[in-house]
Symmetry: C2
Subunit: 367 residues, 2 copies
């Protein structure tokens, strides 16, 4: 095995950079887990070994996010996109109530679109006309008094817009798509009904979604739902109703082990993330308009930093030159263009510093 394997600084929005210690551990044991004699990919999901992996992954998430005891932690398939439907199938369909959606970017819009197939959706706020540059103030929200739930997207990966804190919605269950900022900072889980997140940004590889759900909400799941889409059944079966994505859950265990070993708390994870994001925003803010940040400063994301250059040609050149020096995946999402640096937990400070230096050089050369 080549110990000096050449790795780039990978700013992909997801699937995204993973912590090297987690990858190395997975690599070491890929042919045979110690004491087992088979790869983690080859063992039964009902074996003692996999049970321990699943429970450790859950325990790590519970510790890091300080999940209260009346919440269940599930690992489900289909990514956040299937959660768009599952939330609405379990909590909206047949409820006789509307669901409120706060839309601050592309993903919130997609979540609302899927929910409309299952019941009445009230758009409580939509930043589309402002090109998704901010999150709403509390008094801008048109909430329904009797909503089945209120849905929001804590961090919009494509636009780079992040809620500084969750909206306050009283006793209505708050449902959050936290795909791109889960585990990046502490959140008061007790204020949420459901938090869900595709793993492939801050938690692990693609192919698994983390779902944290308050136990009383499980009673809303109808028996008429497909078994795989029924939160209550999946909770009763501890995510083992059928074969779960075992390798992806194993990677979540390794990634959360790394978070606990390296940072201990999400407060310290958040400090590190703020430091990294501040460096990049400083370069943007001090570029005299050469780099134009997309989101308004108060709501810009610590995870996905988005910006434009003076022309699309320069944006292409920026991405090309960056790639050539090992700074990869800086192209903005195909739906909005521009540039984007995704700097999740596993992106080292050195990667951000290297990108900052490159950006200053690029401006000097082309500005």
């Amino acid at each position: 095995m080549d110990q000096d394997v050449k790795r780039v600084f990978n700013f992909s929005a997801g699937p995204a950079v993973l912590p090297v210690p987690a990858l190395k551990q997975a690599q070491k044991d890929l042919l045979a887990l110690p004491g087992v004699g088979a790869s983690v990919m080859e063992i039964s999901h009902r074996s003692k070994t996999f049970s321990e992996i699943l429970e450790k992954a859950k325990a790590n998430v519970k510790t890091l996010l300080r999940v209260p005891d009346n919440y269940r932690i599930l690992f489900l398939q289909g990514g956040a996109s299937l959660q768009f439907s599952m939330v609405a199938m379990n909590l909206l369909r047949g409820s006789g109530k509307p669901a409120d959606y706060i839309i601050t970017g592309s993903w919130g819009g997609k979540a609302a679109k899927e929910a409309k197939k299952e019941g009445t959706v009230n758009i409580a706020w939509d930043g589309k006309n402002e090109n998704y540059v901010r999150v709403p103030d509390r008094d801008e929200l048109k909430l329904s008094p009797d909503a089945a739930y209120v849905h929001f997207t804590s961090n919009e990966t494509i636009q780079g817009v992040q809620f500084p804190a969750e909206p306050s919605v009283g006793d209505i269950p708050l449902v959050c798509d936290a795909s791109s900022d889960i585990l990046s900072r502490p959140i008061p889980v007790e204020r949420y009904g459901i938090i869900y997140a595709g793993a492939q940004k801050n938690i692990g590889p693609s192919g698994v979604a983390l779902v944290i759900i308050r136990e009383d909400l499980l009673e809303r799941s109808s028996e008429t739902l497909p078994s795989l889409l029924n939160y209550k059944l999946m909770a009763e079966e501890n995510s083992l109703y059928n074969t779960p994505p075992t390798f992806a859950i194993y990677m979540i265990m390794l990634v959360t082990n790394w978070l606990l070993d390296t940072f201990k708390t999400l407060e310290r994870v958040a400090e590190n993330n703020t430091k990294k994001a501040s460096l990049l925003y400083k370069v943007i803010d001090e570029s005299n308009g050469f780099y134009k940040g997309h989101a308004q400063p108060k709501w810009r994301s610590n995870m996905n930093v988005t910006w434009r250059l003076p022309s699309e040609d320069l944006e292409k050149e920026f991405v090309r030159e960056a790639t050539s020096v090992g700074l990869t995946e800086l192209k903005g999402h195909r739906s909005v263009g521009g540039c984007r640096a995704s700097i999740y937990n596993a992106m080292p400070l050195e990667g951000v510093e290297t990108l900052c230096a490159f950006m200053k050089d690029f401006q000097q050369k082309h500005g």
Copy 2:
């Protein structure tokens, strides 16, 4: 890296043994794919590198199964269990027709149960009263003349009952759960409407299902379905509507590369599987009733060999002693008891020979 890593012979029914060359390749490149500088788990599903992986995996499946051009090859999440629902949501719901289900074991029963949530199900045959020891003759099937489709399970993993060939059902689309015998033998794909299979037995790790669907059936998918559960949309998007389980698809590529390198054709894969199964059935048949096979000989499975011993205590002792000499996961499914050896494509002949020798010794000692 320890090149002499100790591996057991793992007879798990799934997740199951994988080919060592595929695991070694994955291990070698786990920190960085050559020329990419990032793990396959860390790269965008829309990157050129992953596109090539996806297309190679599809091409390998197409070559091995000789899939005609009017079929689409999809990689979806949720395993075969979500396919139980997707088949019925896309082809049965709203069709005004019944769907016929042929039930030859536990999984067929589960498939029918999920389908009943979506529409009218006609049980064309159910082997339950005979304890699932065989598949039906053609003239035993009570087929509906106007069925939306006929569903069967080509190999019942728990009971070890396998169809020697698919049932003939005329022009009605034939839908097959082939989870535990896909790629184990050639099949005439052109006689099928849909073939689906959870990957974790013969194709790769858990967390992905292979779906092969005839193009004209895509027109039956309603726009009211959740996007992730809509075959037509998933086919239009080439399995990339949202982030697919990229690592699992990469492993499918490596496993099918290995099949092509080692066997070239499924005819030769089948020869090898028949040889392995015959060795085990010979030990059972020549044990003077010490080992009792579950399925009737004509329909017993080449993938999952199931048998009982004279007592449950002896079965426990058998599993215990086998495990102690590195023959693992031989316990039958918790729902039926007994013993089971799953001998998928990746189980080497040596593993089966070692098990046969152990079984003869065990009988001498305890018979």
